[in-house]
Subunit: 406 residues, 2 copies
């Protein structure tokens, strides 16, 4: 007998028919003799609808009232799934954040869980009951409803699994696992059986949208074994685990990409100490995140070119900030290019193996793809290239690192 | 400065635009220097949608989970209205049943309020804040969400007004007050300035659908002055008050009708003691409410005809019960007529004035309308007539009792 947390996302519970199939999924795990706790998202579309209403009613709204409104989405699903389970003869009941309670801080709209009291849930699990927790929500220090922000239901599920000491936390979504690359582009992409938390984190931050970074960090911190799997079939998904649990470490486990990049180049910036701070300081004050940065070597020792990237949505705000400071910064011209893509090679194996980055540069050079910016982390190498080469680069790299399905 | 409760029904908050006008209504009362507490229903259509989902997910569902699902409707409105009020510069916040708390028994789906703790609400009212209470909901003894059943938001509003000792409880709805008769039929119907609780109760049970009996009973018990008024304009509505507060008591204040009646006649029932009990007992066991009853005088002392009415929806079930017992009951034939209407004359004045019923019989006789069954209460006289005479009877009675607008 194992204790398992199952989390069902918005597409898994999109309508009454799907909620009924989710109930069947849960029942089969119960019938196998396991203790099962369930976490649900809002039915697909419901949250957007509620968010739209909030936006229509006021331009600037109270985050506390926003939470009251949007938390209803998960509340509805939890009640409906409890009914569907009971209809199949499974003892079940819904739990709202304030009932458990899931205590959070009072940062409404993106609260952090501070305490997850599972005393009563454990008592009921031991009696064979299935708790159906409304994800994404908690209760703040002022006894008001809070929501956890993006990826909130995943966070609820991981926190519940950690508090229960669950053997596994299954994240049911609309894909059946984590792939070596985007299967829509790379036909030979393979589903991974296992991946490390670190790699999954890099993937999440570098463009793969299956799990939000916060839930992965939480799982890593508490050693919760995650499984990403599909609610539409019963094949095993991808396990996200500690590196030590993977005996044969792959050198590289995935190639990701992000089109949400825009390149900004400042030409002939005076080459003196403190110039980078004088450029990036004002951007940070404007809440603009700068991602990749490259500074060319100055040829004459007087002026240099500085290139960096921001998210697409931040391009216009960044230009406003920089244009207003041309006199102060003293650059000659400001060039922008939104048609770029960041391609990343990810793998914990590169910690102990040299040559991973070199393989990437060589492969792209062979295809005639110019690398505009390079950045690296401990387990990833990223390059910025022209967007039109996205597919070519992904497929070439996927083959070069021997990730292709045979 | 007065303390006022304002309750807004589903059509008043049907969409974002209407919620914004409701906020204006509330603001104008606040600007007039009053302390205002608000109670809201779900946006029109939302509750039906949620009820449909519950019905689709399971045939027999857990009333506790049903309450979790349907209570979200009022929760959404309370959050949105609080935002709209803040947008107008009014300090406001939403309150859910469990936050106040509104303690109820645990009869899910039709819970009764046991305790309404307004300590915190009063403190905030004194500080100029507008509490926006989600109507229809409370919290049961097991810390689970309960709902109050039909007319639940009105009950929440009256209970809040009673607990706050409010000067008035305004019920905003899609009609602008209580009329002497249905204005769609009687063109000369007048809006009443005042009506007594007793009359309003009779009207509610005799077909007028503006307020549910439970909320009127509660208002009467606690002496809460109700005002039924329209959310679409600012003219005064109808006050529902104690009889002592009305100096000039009208003899008759309204003529109502109900088409939800079906007539059943059992012919030649043996005329012996206990026969009525043997007929109505099995109907009561089948949860069938019998309304009007008339038993003709037996001509030969051996058998009599028995006529009574049930709600339209109960006609088929009632026939099943009675047909199964023909041998035992010993009646000759069972005749039914669904094409009947109950017309009632209501007025507390008839307690002290004779001749009210006689006026009714005479007026109907003059128009050639045959009375099939008569029943009376302390402040109402009701007759059953053929449905085709509804309009004729209502208009004739309205004139006869001098209710016509001049």
């Amino acid at each position: 007998m194992a204790r398992i947390v199952q989390k069902f996302g918005g597409t898994s519970v999109a309508d009454i028919g799907r909620i009924k199939s989710v109930a069947e999924h849960v029942k089969s795990e119960v019938d196998a003799g396991n203790q099962v706790a369930v976490v649900v998202s809002a039915m697909a579309g419901v949250t957007n609808h509620l968010v739209d209403w909030a936006g229509e009613i006021a331009n600037l709204y109270d985050a506390r009232e926003y939470d009251v409104v949007v938390a209803t989405g998960e509340q509805i699903t939890s009640g409906l799934l409890a009914m569907a389970l009971q209809d199949l003869g499974v003892t079940a009941r819904s739990w709202l954040g304030w009932q458990v309670p899931v205590n959070t801080d009072s940062t409404h709209g993106r609260a952090r869980i501070e305490r997850f009291d599972t005393t009563e849930l454990e008592r009921r699990l031991d009696n064979g009951e299935v708790p159906v927790l409304a994800g994404f929500q908690g209760v703040g220090t002022d006894n008001r409803i809070t929501t956890l922000g993006r990826g909130g239901s995943d966070i609820s599920a991981v926190a519940l699994a950690a508090a229960l000491g669950a053997e596994r936390c299954d994240i049911f979504t609309d894909v059946d696992g984590i792939y070596t690359s985007d299967p829509r582009i790379v036909a030979k992409a393979r589903k991974l059986d296992k991946i490390t938390y670190e790699e999954m984190l890099e993937m999440a931050s570098l463009g793969a949208r299956v799990l939000h970074s916060r839930s992965i960090e939480l799982a890593m911190k508490h050693g919760v074994c995650l499984q990403v799997r599909s609610c539409f079939d019963s094949v095993p998904g991808t396990l996200v685990v500690d590196g030590d649990d993977i005996v044969e470490q792959e050198l590289v486990s995935g190639i990701t990409y992000s089109r949400d990049e825009a390149k900004i180049t400042l030409t002939r910036v005076p080459d003196r100490p403190g110039v980078a701070a004088s450029i990036f300081g004002p951007l940070a004050e404007g809440s603009i995140n700068v991602d990749m940065i490259v500074q060319n070597v100055s040829e004459d020792g007087r002026a240099t070119d500085l290139t960096f990237t921001v998210a697409q949505a931040d391009l216009e705000p960044a230009l406003k900030v920089l244009e207003g400071k041309q006199g102060e910064l003293g650059y000659a011209a400001l060039n922008t290019d939104p048609n770029v893509v960041k391609v990343s090679v990810i793998g914990v194996g590169m910690r102990s193996h040299a040559g991973v980055a070199q393989m990437m540069f060589k492969t792209l050079a062979e295809k005639g793809i110019n690398i505009q910016v390079i950045s690296t982390s401990e387990i990833a190498v990223s390059v910025l290239i022209a967007e039109e080469y996205t597919e070519l680069a992904l497929r070439a790299l996927h083959s070069a690192y021997q990730l292709d399905a045979v």
